[in-house]
Amino acid sequence: MKLEVRNVTKIYQSNSKERTVQALNGVSFSVEEGAILGIVGESGCGKSTLSRIIAGLEEPTSGEVLISGERRAGIPRFIRKSSKRPIQLVFQDPYSSLNPRQTIFNAIEEVIRIYEPTLDGSALEARVFELLSSVGIGKDLSHRYPHQFSGGQRQRICIARSLAAKPEILVLDEPVSALDVSVSADIINLLLDLQREFNLTYIFVSHDLGIVKHVSDSIIVMLAGEIVEYGSWTEVMDTPKHEYTQRLIAAIPNLDKLKIKESGEQ
């Protein structure tokens, strides 16, 4: 399933229409099925707006989003609702994206009921356990509430919940930024495993080029609502053309660089 974004522009207006903010300006790119596209940029560069538009949570001011050549953004919501939803979104903060008053079993069951209404009883239960085990959460924990889990576990549950809709494209908006260092590597490994297992297409959005370059096949660098660099991960990392990309690369912590600094001091 191929994703295409054509010339997407998003302008936010204040209620009085006096002030406008251009969040996105003429953004175009495409992602092949089963590929991982990384989007990097600093806060305010429009990367979250873009991921929300791709996921259909917001409408672009102009431009279009096509999935397998079929137009998605810009068509009335009620029409879109009836068709299947191949795109799911995983958010940054696993603390605020789960309902605190719902057990994780119910949180996942709820999604399955929407997309597979024919499932019920033990088949439904089995599907919930299957999803939880695919992200490494045992079924003995399924009756618990979100607050009983750690941040890393909660992010796993959010990922399971998004997989419940059987998506083909997963938009990951800063999926590890809120997690501890030792836990985030674990989540990245899980995401890479799932991507291969289900042949998913990822849009991986992050401010951290170090992680983006590790997971992505191709990389987009955004600055002030525009794409300033777009290419395969090797092109972007080895021969960055834009000055801003070069600055981002220089900001990646590098153990080799540290060693040079240390030995240079002696």
């Binding site: 600093e42 750690s150 260092v181 030792s182 540290l258």
Partner: protein, 318 residues
């Protein structure tokens, strides 16, 4: 070099149900030295820093511990001594500059107020110079602006200007770059480093990010589950980590082939009070034995480094 600050046997727990939060932490900062405390959320790094200035939040009490600064004991009991040290001798900058600046007050006024409160020169010219020193492009505009008119990076610069105005001997920085963009983070790191060298002050930098700390400090203290897991110079810690937790953290920084599995530490960090009689890292450790679950490893000194582990790593990592 003389010892500037020493923290001895610091133990903190929740007041209400006496849950252990920080367990017997000891360390020293020499004059002019920069020290980093690294740990995940809940490891007790921020509480340790706050207790130095007697700023512990409500509900956390200090069971034991002595903080000595320039040879003088500073404690909660001696409010006057504490007040003399705060701001004047030890300054602190926090993670989120938006919540540490007063939104209703112009930046210049706030800095003047801080100077006046500590009996320093509060002339406008002094404040303008302080703002220029931290790389704010037009100090005059900044002086008469409100915090919301500035970006996160600029606000953090203003905070740093305020904290350096009194020329402290020690600057405590609690994750001051975590809320900032990576390119801005780099600028702030360079700025703090520059200022530290220019004013020959000591630095205590607290972070969850080992790589950020490594670029800035001489000595690293790794905290895990409320305890000190390992202490050493940056070079030693990176090249030959002794504690398996440190080794795991560094492992996750090591370059991996594209899309290959990253080195990760399985499991989650425990709450300090659940592991008060055993090694906190036992459940996630590769070298674990029964001994680690039956008893608590003490911090052993080995030359100028120390670690708390029964089964330390032997081989060099890099």
């Amino acid at each position: 070099m003389k010892t500037l600050l020493s923290v001895k046997n610091l133990t903190l727990s929740t007041t209400l149900d006496e849950k252990l939060l920080v367990d017997d932490v000891n360390f020293e900062i020499l004059e002019g030295e920069s020290v980093g405390i690294v740990g995940e959320s809940g490891s007790g790094k921020t509480l340790t820093a706050l207790s130095i200035l007697g700023l512990l939040p409500k509900g956390v009490s200090q069971n034991s511990g002595a903080v000595t600064f320039q040879g003088r004991l500073i404690s909660q009991a001696d409010k006057a001594a504490l007040q003399e040290v705060r701001g004047n001798r030890i300054s602190m900058i926090y993670q989120d500059p938006m919540t540490s600046l007063n939104p209703m007050m112009k930046i210049g006024k706030q800095i003047q107020e801080a100077a006046r409160a500590h009996g320093a020169n509060d002339d406008e010219s002094v404040v303008l110079k302080a703002l220029a020193d931290v790389g704010i492009p037009s100090p005059e505009t900044c002086f008469s602006s409100y915090p919301h008119e500035f970006s996160g990076g600029m606000r953090q610069r203003a905070m740093i200007a305020m904290s350096l105005l009194l020329q402290p001997n020690l600057l405590i920085a609690d994750e001051p770059t975590t809320a900032l963009d990576v390119t801005i983070q780099r600028q702030i790191l360079n700025l703090v480093n520059e200022q530290r060298q220019r004013n020959s002050m000591s630095l205590l930098w607290i972070s969850h990010d080992l790589s950020v700390v490594a670029e800035l400090v001489d000595k690293v203290i790794v905290m895990y589950a409320g305890r000190v897991a390992e202490v050493g110079t940056v070079k030693e810690i990176f090249e030959r980590p002794k504690h398996p937790y440190t080794a795991g953290l560094i492992g996750s920084l090591v370059k991996r082939k594209h899309q290959e599995k990253m080195i990760s530490i399985p499991g989650n960090p425990p709450k300090p009070w659940t592991v008060s009689t055993q090694c906190g890292f036992a459940d996630r450790c590769v070298n674990v034995t029964q001994k680690c679950r039956d008893s608590k490893p003490e911090l052993v000194q080995e030359g100028d480094r120390a670690y708390a582990c029964f089964h330390p790593m032997n081989e060099a990592l890099l």
